[in-house]
Amino acid sequence: MGRWTKPQTVIALLVRLVLGAIFIYAGTIKALDPAAFASAVDAYRLLPYPAVVALALYLPWVEIACGLGLFRPRIQLGALSLLFVLSLVFTVAIASAWIRDLDISCGCFGAGATGAAVLRHSLLRSVTLAFLSALLLWREQGSRTGGARIPPAAGGGVS
């Protein structure tokens, strides 16, 4: 794994910005209205209610912390790993709702429209998020194993 050329560094930074912005935004909306988020999570019919409430109170802050963590070099790797795992979990949950033909909203960004078309769209988005975080994770990991210490991408180091 050699040195990364400049375009890749720029693209990686852009992807990181987009990922971070999406998760900070999604987390903030849900953290401001945990009751609405609890109702959205409950609609998936996957968890017992107390677990739904606990998740509704906790998950938004995990998303915010991960989103912010992407821009702190010391915890970047952990944040990326968590984002990857979260996106996978979201993908499985949305896919299960879609397969069970539930007429619910994703709940990803607070209350929204419902229906199979909306879920398909949300599914596509969570798969994209998983792919993007996997890409960054692979790059991050590659840059470390390669031995050649590259400076953190411009902007990413500002903290």
């Binding site: 409950d42 906790y58 912390a65 539930l102």
Partner: protein
């Protein structure tokens, strides 16, 4: 090579743990200081469901709220129902507020027994308008249509 991979994995796990801990602290602080947090029992959070046969016999005035999509509402809806367009439009909300008077019961419906739009819209109406008398129509639009077909 294996060692560096293991080291990276451990570092990722350590950092992830730190992030989860920070998020937990933030979540606990937010939960303690916020008043409108959800209750721990489903019965507390869920809006009660009522059957159409029950609603029909209510003496109190009833305002029906259609929580399905705008397209579905345009195609057909329960007579007198106001649209909420999937629970997203603020204008629809304003029209509802204008139509609602104290003592009027709100009955929200969506497509079928498997839809959640009515529950979330009803919850939002109760939280944001402070209306206590909010209900969800059991079985939604499909149950109402069945009821109409069976009647004659």
């Amino acid at each position: 090579m294996m060692d560096t991979r293991k080291a990276i994995f451990l570092r990722a796990v350590r950092q992830a743990g730190l992030i989860l801990l920070i998020a937990l602290i933030a979540a606990v602080i937010a939960a303690v200081f916020r008043l409108g947090r959800p209750g721990w029992s489903r019965a507390q959070a869920m809006i009660p469901e009522v059957d159409w046969t029950v609603v029909r016999n209510w003496r109190d005035p009833v305002l029906l709220v259609d929580a399905r999509s705008a397209a579905a509402y345009a195609r057909d809806h329960i007579p007198g129902a106001l649209p909420l367009f999937g629970g997203a439009g603020d204008e629809a909300m304003a029209a509802l507020v204008a139509a609602w008077h104290p003592g009027t019961r709100l009955v929200v419906y969506c497509d079928s027994p498997r839809c959640d739009a009515a529950q979330s819209a009803a919850g939002r109406l109760r939280r944001e308008l402070g209306v206590e008398e909010v209900f969800v129509l059991k079985g939604g639009w499909s149950a109402w249509v069945d009821g109409q077909n069976r009647k004659p």
